[in-house]
């Protein structure tokens, strides 16, 4: 089922975008394929070891501690803790998602995981240092970070609320 949904979504989006591009004289499918190839190249070497590391890590994570600190039962406290962990988690998706898989399989709660990924995406201190502050200036970056602080806990609490509604 999961395979069907995932592959179906991608196929549908690919169908729509390529059909739209086909109707435009200026967009050539060959150029698009070349763009995608440029992006694929670095992944060819990195992805297999990253995935291996992620799956091996999943088996090594101390499950009881993860469940205790960030499991479903950790509630609001777990959401706040996940915000802190997500905010300081360095690196791109190649590190974050295998780790997320490992933590989720070790028993981390869904709301806490939503919080962690949201905090990692909006706060992304590494990205602020490398891209945002140099390009936009510290004033903009600081104002955005401050305005983004409540965003990750909000996502976590919304998930908790959604779970309650779905369960009730």
């Amino acid at each position: 089922m999961m395979t069907l949904i995932a592959y179906g979504t991608i196929a549908l989006l690919l169908g729509i975008t390529s059909a739209l591009a086909h109707r435009r004289a200026t967009t050539r499918h060959r150029d698009v394929a070349a763009d995608a190839w440029v992006q694929l190249q670095p992944l060819l070497l990195r992805l297999p070891p990253a995935l291996l590391a992620g799956v091996f890590l999943a088996g090594l994570v101390p499950e009881q501690q993860v469940v205790g600190l960030l499991g479903e039962a950790s509630g609001a406290y777990g959401v706040l803790l996940a915000t802190v962990i997500g905010g300081i988690l360095p690196g791109g998706p190649m590190i974050a998602f295998p780790l997320a898989l490992a933590l989720l399989e070790a028993g981390m709660g869904v709301a806490q995981m939503v919080t962690l990924i949201t905090a990692w995406s909006v706060l992304a201190l590494h990205r602020v240092l490398v891209f945002e502050a140099p390009m936009m200036g510290w004033r903009f970056a600081g104002r955005r970070l401050l305005a983004s602080l409540p965003v990750a806990p909000a996502a976590g609490f919304l998930t908790l609320a959604a779970e309650t509604v779905l369960a009730g």
């Binding site: 995608a36 992006q39 390009m135 936009m136």
Partner: protein
């Protein structure tokens, strides 16, 4: 990203720090699994990882192509036209949609924010755009999140993330310094 000045690089030159890091991490975690849980567990985990790799390869390929199509269909100039000079709820909504469909990493999104900011788009709109690109970015959700965490998780997370760009954009309005 289509790097205009990209030239052919021999394969071994592409082995960069990130790749080395992951190879070492995979070896260390694999070794620890063997040592702590025995060769049986090691073989099981290895098979699971290879299965996952085979499963995500087509998703990755498809999502990269979708991203490349979107980039050609929505050039930066179009995005700038959408977002420039808009403000209020309408501006935040347009920024949210634009952020969600912007494919690629920070090297694709931030130049657009810089251009918008310089062209006079409000800080709220810029912050809503960055937030939407971070939490609703469809391209990243498809490439990374879907294969690792599954469609149920992705759908739930995207759903609860819908109000977040408005929240950040609205809050940034409150943070404006009073005119001196």
């Amino acid at each position: 990203m289509a790097a205009p000045g990209s030239h052919r690089v021999p394969p071994w030159r592409r082995i960069d720090g990130t790749t080395v890091f992951f190879v070492l991490l995979a070896l260390a975690t694999g070794g620890a699994t063997w040592w702590l849980h025995g060769p049986g567990a090691f073989a099981d985990t290895l098979l699971r990882a290879l299965g996952l790799l085979a499963w995500i390869a087509p998703v990755l390929l498809g999502a990269l192509l979708v991203g490349a199509y979107v980039q050609r269909l929505l050039p930066r100039a179009t995005m700038e036209r959408w977002l420039g000079g808009r403000s209020g709820l309408r501006g935040l909504t347009v920024a949210t949609v634009a952020g969600a469909v912007t494919p690629g990493g920070p090297f694709a999104a931030f130049p657009l924010v810089v251009a918008l900011y310089r062209a006079g788009a409000s800080v709220e709109v810029c912050i809503a755009y960055v937030t939407a690109w971070s939490v609703l970015g469809i391209n990243r959700a498809l490439i990374w999140e879907l294969p690792f965490l599954g469609p149920d998780f992705v759908l739930l997370r995207l759903l609860v993330s819908l109000p977040l760009p408005f929240l950040a954009g609205g809050l940034s309005r409150l943070l404006r310094r009073p005119p001196t």
